[in-house]
Symmetry: C2
Subunit: 370 residues, 2 copies
């Protein structure tokens, strides 16, 4: 519950974190992973916070995923000892990885070419686990699942050094973010799992107990048949956001972060509200409504115990560096006053958290963002 | 000149700052303001850096503009004593303004309604200078220049307290950012200047020596006839960026910042290069090329003395949180290697600087971002 007077103390754009919602999101994913017998290796790129990380630690999780070596450094500093850097390994950062190895950290890296494996074979001071990143159709990074020869060449190269251990196959089917139904997300995942398992079958002579890890939140949240999957590494589920809500991957009540924004001006003619809340708070990610209008966030009303459901039709229709323009109904326009503080649910919680740099819980506690 | 080995030392996305270009941009704007007899009150929202600010101080400038009270706090801490907060004043932050007043800072605020003036009249502990923000057609914030009664009511309210001094009329014709020719930018500015001057004529009984300040970089950079303008407050010109280059407001050689990004993977089939450089480095601002393809940055080659011209056809075509996908010609594809570091000119330098949080000059010096 918001301690009495807490909203009154907000004077600037502030990233509110509803711990109850967050914990429930975390618990659901842990319960699901247990039920489906897959290992949850949560991605910490969404929250990037040592305090949020503690909620996973309390639940007994020790293996985590990050999206950069820099982020790995942050979590190593805060006591995490088993970290997957889920990004095609940047060989210029091998020195940091060697530092991790010297500290006894269990490091897992993503590989997409033979040369990087031979480079690691020469440069590493100790052993790391390697994933081959596979592309099952998203076409961002990873080796195409059809390129069996290339994949086999990578796995063979790993066998040449004790320090480059073939651990698994990693697939982030991020195209699920662009689907328009749960059924499509499920069928896309089914297709990806099949492709990755076919690859595994082709590698039985080169690696045993080769693990398959799937990466994206939409799939991890909605797929119930995880046959052929050993590990999952979703990240966004910890907070969710409007993208996930529009995909029907989460309910709006699952969204665990909102940005509190002061109202600084009203425009009678356009029924627009000017808030302090712009691109330096929300980034420029957007969605389109039914009439193909771009929007950058949706409004909620801040309450003692958090925030209301989304106010229908109250959307952030335009943002510049610090300004946000909220378009609202006539009725709502009349009730909102300059000096009020309203809430905005973000389009993309990862980017919003990255920009806001600090969370304030509903009890007023501050959580850091790396 | 890049000290020998400097590029070799870059292992992660790094915001490079070419001081020579920056100084030349600053010098040109100072020279222009002097020549046209307007006062330059540079906007510091683009760089947000105490070190960059020093270049203005060395040139004798003492009055600056910022876009939030938070940013004002940063520059007050670093010795700036005459600050315009160019954002509709957020009355929840009046306590900070009173702190500034107590420290002897000369504060200028933007006003868009009568109530905020009466609020300030009651709450301020000393005098501040007030601008009425006018909307001459951009339709973001500010009072419509046609609403003379409303504007007169605001100016009259200011007269009721010694602490709310009517200083001037502020206009940010940000619609210049969406124009497609220098002529259109000039005519839009001419129109805005006329409207704002008409307002001033209507206020002669309510304020004398009422100053007119114009805000945007495109206009300040290209307009040569500043009759009717007393002060200009551009910000982006200090670095410029691809938006300004596509508007023909600057040459690509004026762009003073580039993000150095390591190449981490190559995709032969798609002739795509995967770099470490994504939405957490560039934001999601984009432009469209001739064939209406969205892009998020353009590539340059890093050199001893900075960087090359834009490599034709080498564009950042897609970004996610940390990944950037660079589409390049076959010939360029063959010359680029995993482990190389290339440069990306940003679409929007303000948002990129805000995300990168630190500059590295070509001689390896670090400049902070607040």
């Amino acid at each position: 519950m918001l301690p009495s007077g807490m909203i009154e103390n907000i004077t600037r754009p502030t990233l509110l974190l509803d711990l109850k919602k967050m914990e429930s999101n975390i618990d659901s994913m842990i319960e699901k992973a247990d039920r489906l017998n897959v290992k949850l290796v949560p991605h910490f790129k969404t929250h990037q916070s040592k305090e949020v990380a503690q909620y996973f630690r309390k639940k007994g999780l020790r293996s985590i995923t990050v999206s950069s070596v820099l982020m790995a450094e942050y979590f190593v500093k805060h006591g995490w000892q088993d970290i997957t850097v889920a990004f095609p390994f940047n060989r210029l950062e091998v020195g940091v990885i060697n530092g991790f190895i010297s500290q006894g950290v269990n490091v897992k890296l993503l590989i997409t070419d033979v040369d990087t494996v031979s480079f690691l074979g020469k440069e590493l001071v100790g052993a790391v686990d390697l994933f081959i990143e596979l592309d099952a159709g998203y076409h961002r990074s990873g080796v195409n699942t059809n390129h069996i020869d290339e994949i086999r060449a990578i796995a063979s190269e790993m066998a040449k050094s004790d320090n480059t251990k073939f651990y698994g196959l990693y697939c982030h089917p991020g195209n699920t973010y662009h689907e328009d139904s749960i059924d499509r997300i499920k069928s896309l995942w089914r297709d990806a799992i099949e492709k990755v398992n076919e690859v595994r079958l082709n590698l039985t002579d080169l690696g045993k107990d080769v693990v398959i890890r799937m990466g994206d939140t939409p799939g991890c949240a909605v797929v119930e048949d995880m046959k052929g999957v050993d590990e999952i590494g979703p990240g966004n589920f910890v907070f969710y956001d409007l993208v996930m809500n529009y995909l029907n991957v989460c309910d709006e009540s699952n969204i665990a972060v909102a940005v509190a924004c002061p109202i600084v001006a009203k425009n009678d003619e356009r029924k627009e509200i000017v808030i302090h809340g712009g691109a330096v708070h929300f980034s420029k990610d957007h969605l389109f409504d039914e009439s193909e209008q771009k929007f950058f966030g949706e409004m909620v009303i801040l309450q003692e115990d958090g925030w209301s459901n989304i106010v229908p039709g109250a959307k952030l229709v335009s943002i510049s560096q610090e300004h946000g323009i909220l378009s609202v109904s006539d009725r709502l326009f009349d009730t909102l006053k300059v000096g009020d503080v309203i809430g905005i649910l973000p389009i993309h919680s990862c980017l919003t958290a990255n920009l806001m740099n600090e969370y304030v819980t509903l009890s007023g506690q501050k959580f850091e963002h790396m």
